[in-house]
């Protein structure tokens, strides 16, 4: 594993039971990267994210995160890795019975030694960072989809993670909210130096935020291309990647 690598996947085969989604994938995510996992529907992007977050084990291969192989590590070690990671799910996945502040306070109460007052203030700060200052006592049912994603991001950032994973961050958002969320992702990446891994097929987001990427292909069940998405657009390695990055090719 190179010095700068935060995540290193080696010979990774992802699937469920006998059904293989992706074979023998190798890639590396460096510290401070905004790394995009892209590809068409059914190519295994979300499953890859579930492997990276330790929710499922790969059929074969290893995933080394900050020096620990999470595919063979004990659950307690994987949990320690998870504490240094934040995840923003498609719908925000906020707990509906808790206020926004309580949602953010939950991981802080579980895994930090801060006093209750500081935890409360930190929750308010995280909400302010994502543009939701003053919404601390709102319930998820009282806010819009875009705001839920922002609140989900505030919760993902609660423990100052090294890596933040995003599952389809633009899904269900209007173009302006989507652009604002992209800006927020970049700002967090720049200000905190957080490594960002984004699973998406939203082209505008891919080109706006990504500085490294892999392209998964459902047909060949492999990584078909890798590199900066803007470079891939300029020099597409094959027809499939070109079509994907140009929404089916020029018409």
């Amino acid at each position: 594993m190179s010095k700068d690598a935060v995540i290193e996947a080696k010979n990774l085969t992802v699937g469920y039971g006998d059904y293989v989604l992706l074979r023998n994938a190798d890639y590396q995510v460096n510290r401070g990267d905004v790394f995009i996992i892209m590809g068409g529907s059914g190519c295994g992007k979300s499953s890859m994210l579930r492997v990276l977050t330790g929710l499922i084990r790969p059929l074969k291969g290893t995933v080394i995160i900050n020096g620990t192989d999470i595919t063979s590590a004990e659950e307690s070690e994987v949990q320690k890795i998870r504490e240094k990671s934040g995840i923003l799910y498609q719908s925000g996945a906020l707990f509906s019975s808790m206020t926004l502040a309580e949602n953010i306070m939950l991981p802080l109460q579980q895994y930090s030694d801060y006093s209750p007052e500081t935890i409360r203030e930190l929750a308010n700060l995280k909400l302010a960072l994502v543009g939701l200052k003053g919404f601390d006592d709102f319930y998820p049912s009282e806010i819009s989809g875009g705001m839920k994603k922002r609140a989900g991001l505030a919760r993902a950032l609660a423990l100052d993670p090294d890596i933040v994973y995003f599952d389809e961050p633009s899904a269900g958002l209007d173009p302006i909210s989507s652009r604002n969320l992209d800006d927020l992702i970049l700002e967090i990446n720049r200000s905190l130096g957080t490594t960002i891994v984004v699973v998406t097929h939203e082209l505008s987001s891919i080109f706006a935020i990504g500085n490294n990427s892999i392209f998964l292909d459902a047909q060949s069940k492999s990584i078909m291309a890798r590199g900066n998405p803007n470079e891939l657009l300029k020099n597409p390695p094959n027809e499939e990647v070109y079509k994907f990055l140009t929404r089916g090719g020029e018409r």
């Binding site: 509906s96 006093s115 007052e117 500081t118 543009g131 003053g134 049912s141 700002e187």
Partner: protein, 377 residues
């Protein structure tokens, strides 16, 4: 002049008559901020006009430093004091700018700041709205039954069979077990008193009349409210969360025909039959105690049980089961259809369906008992 060192990494210095400087150095990781803020609040009582931040050899820092700077900046804004963070690292300055770049103000629907009279009025209107909704639902179900009787309903037969299987054959096991145990308990409790008069043989009559008249129906009602009514509320509530109910509506399909009628009809068929099964299971439970524990002669026991078995009692019990079936199905479906759009609401709908069904079953039992009393049944 150094005023205080809250932690060795954070030092508050008075650098001028009206100026404070917060010196930050080393590692600022996992710090609680209250002590620093309390010190600053005390210092702000004097004539301070400006607070500046200076960093000296600042190495590692986390959200606690961001929080400290953010809180001090908020404090300065509240007290009209200048705050200079230009000496702090650029990424920290960016984060503070981000935290202050609020793009919307929180607004909530009305209702938080109502007077007591307005709250009573609003509560009354809400109650009336709920009653109207329930009546509307019952009306829709009646119209749906009308459509079903005249073969104009969109109810699918497969849904009816599936619901019937779920609340019929699959429920027999638990109904038999619980009713058998209730008959057993009834016999035990009765036997203790009857033995004192040497009248233990009447345990057979007690259990037979008790189970057939009301206990069988009540036990089936409670089991089915918890088992099936709650599952109706949860499944329809989850459909609400997944927008399946909206899809039905936009396709022009009646929710009542599609979701409520199969469940209602299956309960109407299953509940009386389950009540009959429960009656016999309870009588068997009583016989088990009478014959095996109290050593009553088997023939004698069954003779007394048979003599106590009146068709009127049996039919009243079965009618209870029929009414309970309507109550459980309607409470379950109504709770599901009026469920909110999150996981918490599904839980609440499930609880509401069980509580409502049990309360209404007791109310209906009271009404039927009064009517039977008047009619000498």
């Amino acid at each position: 002049m150094t005023l205080t060192k809250v932690k060795k990494e954070i030092e508050i210095i008075q650098t001028g008559k009206n100026t404070l400087t917060v010196m930050i150095s080393g590692d600022v990781i996992g710090r609680n901020v209250e002590s620093s803020l309390n010190v600053l609040r005390d210092l702000l009582q004097s004539e301070i006009k400006k607070i500046s931040f200076k960093e000296e050899n600042l190495k590692n820092w986390d959200s606690s430093l961001v929080l400290l700077v953010y809180e001090i900046k908020c404090l300065c804004a509240e007290n009209n004091i200048g705050c200079d963070i230009s000496d702090l690292p650029h990424n920290l300055q960016d984060l503070i700018a981000l935290a202050f770049a609020v793009d919307r103000k929180p607004t909530r629907g009305s209702g938080d700041d109502l007077s007591a009279v307005e709250k009573v009025g609003k509560g009354t209107l809400d109650l009336w709205r709920k009653v109207a909704n329930v009546l509307d639902f019952i009306g829709s179900v009646c119209r749906g039954i009308g459509r079903a009787i005249t073969f104009r309903s969109v109810m699918r037969k497969i849904d009816l069979w599936s619901a019937l299987e779920d609340c019929g054959p699959k429920a027999i096991g638990i109904v038999c077990l619980i009713s058998f145990l209730v008959g057993l308990i009834l016999a035990f409790v009765g036997a203790v008193q009857l033995q004192t008069f040497g009248a233990q043989i009447y345990v057979a009559s007690l259990v037979t009349i008790g189970m057939c008249r009301i206990m069988g129906a009540i036990m089936v009602g409670i089991i089915m409210a918890g088992r099936t009514g709650s599952s109706y509320a949860a499944s329809i509530g989850t459909m609400q969360v997944n927008e399946e109910l909206d899809a039905l509506q936009t396709m022009g399909l009646s929710r009542v025909d599609f979701l409520v009628l199969p469940r209602l009809f299956s309960m109407l068929i299953a509940m009386p039959l389950l009540t009959m099964i429960a009656d016999f299971a309870g009588i068997l439970g009583g016989a088990f105690i009478g014959i095996f524990m109290m050593d009553l002669p088997c023939q004698e026991y069954w003779k007394y049980a048979f003599n106590s078995f009146h068709l009127n009692n049996f039919l009243v019990g079965t009618f209870h089961g029929f009414c309970f079936g309507i109550i459980i199905a309607l409470c379950g479906c109504y709770s599901g259809l009026t469920c909110g759009r999150n996981a918490d609401s599904v839980g609440k709908a499930t609880t509401q369906s069980v509580v409502c069904a049990i309360v209404w079953m007791i109310v209906v039992t009271g009404i039927i008992t009064l009517i039977c009393q008047e009619l000498n049944i």
